[in-house]
Symmetry: C2
Subunit: 575 residues, 2 copies
């Protein structure tokens, strides 16, 4: 819906006033429209484009060096008057004549035709080049409407004029561009005029209007909405079916958005359009994907090809500098694709450091611990989900399982000679990439920090070193997550765990016993998070939370350290 306006009847004039203010450094307003500032270079044939408003950047958005010299601005979806066109043509004339160019609509044809006659009566040579690219609008080429092919025709004439061609030549090239241009559009929704609450026309829900005109003119038929791949096939195949005879193998291509169909959707569509064109033997030259001819807030898109011969191609590729369309070869010419060496360097995988025997031994413990944690989390996935659903979105069990599964898989891919520090760091990276969510990022980063702290160069990993690694794990979560103990997060289980571990290890206890005792503390504290208190970062009202349900993150922390305790105890017994 069109929502920003003052008096809807003055929309076209009001938006033009804003445009003229914004681009005062390059255009000026004249009666009826806009004329580009000119330089002190040789005079050019003036290409004057136009039509109704509501199609920006058509028409005033493409006035400037290398494209149009002026634009006539009508009311919304309404042809400008002959007087407007005459006025803009007169102001744009540089003494070498004026070519009016516009899409083939009855009102425009009449008014620009009259304006051209008046200019001739004034003694100024004036021509008319009408754009007829829409293959859906009529069988006979000359009867077709003009849609996004406006752009290719204007571009060719603007470039020809900028190169100093005379009016006969610019007109001839414009007609050649039009003869080489074909478009097909689809509409998903209609558009709404300023001040109206109902759309001007509409497309049945879940359908697309094939060939529907940019003012709602009848199309070919309504089709149930298609996946992007099939939509691309429909557009490409139908445009190619209407190719000019003896079309060359190269084409300028436009994938044009009509208003509310966004860039990212158009890129996604382009992903299918481009290979299908190439499969048809077409070399795509300087494609444009974006909004070039719109229709207020209409949803939809169109595909345009201008087949390029040796004459049209350089004009299509030439520089242009307008408010909405800017193309300058120089900055790109200075770039180059990276060399193979540069690519190899950038993509080089950081390899594992050489590991001591002790570090390789530690890796065995890490593998066993990760396997045990995976088993535990798999067993408790649904329970964790149920707990999480009370205060959160219920995906905690699923997220933890995704993380640990990715971690064990990554460690499984490592060779036998890596150390435990490297294995933990890799496990953390894999966890963060796959688990998703803030909790996945925190677990992953904490494991990685743990592994980096341990490293793989030590000759032994005494309990105090492991405790220091666990402290690094906890500190990482505190720093990245920003929560404090008591906030009812996993920290409420983790921090008491670390404190207990450090305390017992400091008192000289062996690792397995100290860890087991600390795990008992973690499990108990996890249950304490069940007190009814707000949870940091949760939007859900307190009233919806049950008294007595602990925090899922704290519970899973308890489960993890308990599973690891069993591994450590079992290993100590074996030694």
């Amino acid at each position: 819906m069109t929502r920003i306006f003052d008096d809807p009847a003055e929309f076209a004039d009001d938006q033009l006033a804003g445009f003229l203010d914004l681009y005062a450094d390059r255009v000026r307003g004249v009666h009826g429209g806009v004329v580009a500032h000119r330089g002190d270079g040789d005079p050019q044939v003036a290409v004057v484009i136009g039509g109704g408003s509501g199609h920006y950047p058509a028409f005033c958005g493409t006035v400037g060096p290398g494209m149009a010299h002026g634009a006539v601005v009508g009311n919304i979806f309404t042809s400008p008057s002959a007087a407007q066109a005459h006025s803009v043509g007169k102001a744009a004339d540089q003494g070498r004549g004026v070519i009016f160019s516009f899409g083939n609509y009855a009102g425009d044809t009449i008014n620009f035709g009259i304006a051209a006659e008046r200019l001739r009566a004034d003694g100024t040579d004036a021509r008319v080049v009408i754009v007829t690219d829409d293959v859906a609008s009529a069988e006979q080429e000359s009867q077709r409407r003009g849609i996004a092919g406006d752009f290719t025709v204007f571009k060719v004439m603007g470039a020809a004029a900028a190169r100093g061609a005379d009016i006969d030549e610019v007109e001839r090239l414009g007609r050649a561009a039009n003869a080489a241009t074909r478009s097909l559009g689809v509409a998903f929704t209609g558009c709404t005029m300023p001040g109206e609450s109902e759309p001007l026309f509409s497309v049945p829900d879940g359908h697309l209007g094939l060939g529907l005109g940019i003012h709602g003119e009848p199309g070919i038929r309504d089709v149930p909405m298609l996946p992007a791949r099939e939509l691309a096939e429909l557009l490409v195949d139908d445009v190619l079916k209407h190719a000019p005879t003896a079309a060359p193998g190269r084409a300028g291509v436009i994938l044009n958005g009509l208003g509310t169909t966004k860039y990212e959707e158009l890129f996604l569509l382009w992903r299918h359009v481009a290979p299908r064109l190439r499969d048809a033997g077409i070399t795509i030259v300087d494609p444009e994907v974006g909004e070039l001819v719109t229709s207020l807030d209409m949803g939809g898109c169109s595909l345009t090809l201008m087949w390029l011969d040796d004459e049209l191609e350089p004009l299509w590729r030439a520089d242009a500098y307008t408010p909405a369309y800017r193309k300058t070869a120089a900055p790109l010419a200075a770039l180059r694709e990276p060399t193979a060496d540069e690519l190899a360097e950038a993509d080089a995988v950081v390899t594992a450091p050489e590991a001591t025997d002790a570090a390789r031994g530690l890796a065995g413990t890490v593998r066993a611990a990760l396997a045990a944690v995976e088993t535990t989390l798999r067993e408790h996935e649904h329970e964790l989900g149920r707990i999480d659903a009370v205060a959160g979105d219920g995906d905690h069990g699923r997220g933890m399982l995704k993380g640990i599964t990715a971690a064990t898989a990554r460690v499984g891919e490592l060779g036998d000679d890596v150390g435990g520090g490297w294995a933990l760091a890799q496990a953390g990276q894999a966890w963060a990439e796959r688990a998703g969510g803030t909790s996945g990022v925190l677990w992953g980063a904490a494991l990685e920090a743990f592994g980096r702290r341990l490293g793989d160069s030590a000759d032994g990993y005494p309990a105090a070193e492991v405790a220091a690694g666990v402290r690094e794990f906890a500190t990482t979560i505190q720093q990245l997550g920003g929560a404090q103990e008591g906030d009812k997060t996993l920290l409420d289980a983790l921090l008491p765990f670390v404190a207990e571990l450090e305390s017992r290890v400091g008192d000289g206890a062996a690792l397995a016993g100290a860890w087991t005792a600390a795990a008992g503390v973690a499990t108990a504290r996890a249950q304490d998070t069940a007190e009814l208190r707000p949870k940091v970062g949760r939007a859900r009202p307190l009233a919806e939370r049950s008294v007595g349900t602990p925090d899922a993150g704290a519970v899973s922390m308890g489960l993890v350290v308990t599973a690891v305790a069993e591994v450590l105890t079992s290993q100590e017994e074996q030694e």
Copy 2:
């Protein structure tokens, strides 16, 4: 609604694939995102931007010379992982360090923070510059979210890096740009994720969400929708209220569209924003109005100011060349505003030719005839409307009256010494400009052609000359309108009128008598159009049309020539 996709879960990757195909001449895909091709110039500090997808041109659309060196591309509205950011940072690094920059959201802060740490662990200097421009999101500046101010901060850092600044300097300037940037946004509608039929969030009908975040984060309050002028006041005043202390008097300004709010609406808003900023003493520097940071198909806009000191201004103004944002000073530098002489020449009014006595006498007849026609059409306005409503849109009477009123007014403004040819031509131009519709254009052009045919240099206007002028009038309508006699248009009254007039004048009759007889024929033939036949260019089904209702255009033609007949008869009697 987002409509173009294949598997909605793959939307972000799929659109990126299309983007990479489209811009393969300037960027390459790496794990996690996009890196710009570089030239053989001196290595630069790499500015790596990013965040979730759905905000194009943020983020990959602003990668290129003069702006970012890489972009990390997350899932829709989801932070990229630390591994993605690390990968893009590594690939973008040119040996002078990496600065990650992004809007202030928890996931991005964590993941880019981890990536920076990993880069440092790899031996690459890495920094983080967080954008916090959204004044609606928090009182404390460092807590604010990042919205369109992303663009100003990225721009400044990209320009600084391109000039060879070191990483400390680029970081310092980025922080200075963020400290100088303030934004406020409004939302009219929510946005819909690919594959969903319901929007992710919504704004109450007829309201705007003031300060609503680009992912639907809570804003300040909902406000009933405002006219453009008041919306501009709201945005400008609130952004200025939050200006940095001791802000300079110059600012870069962005009026950003969120997705479905279109260029023309933004221009219309700019028309009010710009003068209000100037009234507040701000010099606007290189403003940008368009889509720079979007949110899928969200409706709404935001205003951003970056206050410019001597250090920031040249960086804001510097050239840049990216897929979505291109700025090159050279083409504009070659332009200049027209001189006073050139303007005078372009705006020169074509003045009336010198008129003979006979031509001045003819002008009296023209004035009298136009006045009589206006009287007749005013009397018959509603009747013509009723007739037209049977087969058309019922505005024929209104349109004719608007045309003749404009024509008589224009002729009334002409001096007493103009000739009748000039007066008729001027009447025609005024009619075409004001009456609207195809019929208005045809009447206007025909009157103008009539006047040009008569001219103002003759020593007399014998009946044969007048008849030739009327023939010109009819031919103009035939040529421009493309209809034939029998198509049930005004031609069915006009062509028999001209034939009768020519015949009687050819037989030697005086003008008044011949005209009166011909007018009788026209009136009769107008009634003959009542036969039930399809009317050219009418979409309304035949069944809806009443048998026995004539064409309104033919009827009004009969009325006009009859009114003129009375004037001619009265004048002949007086002579």
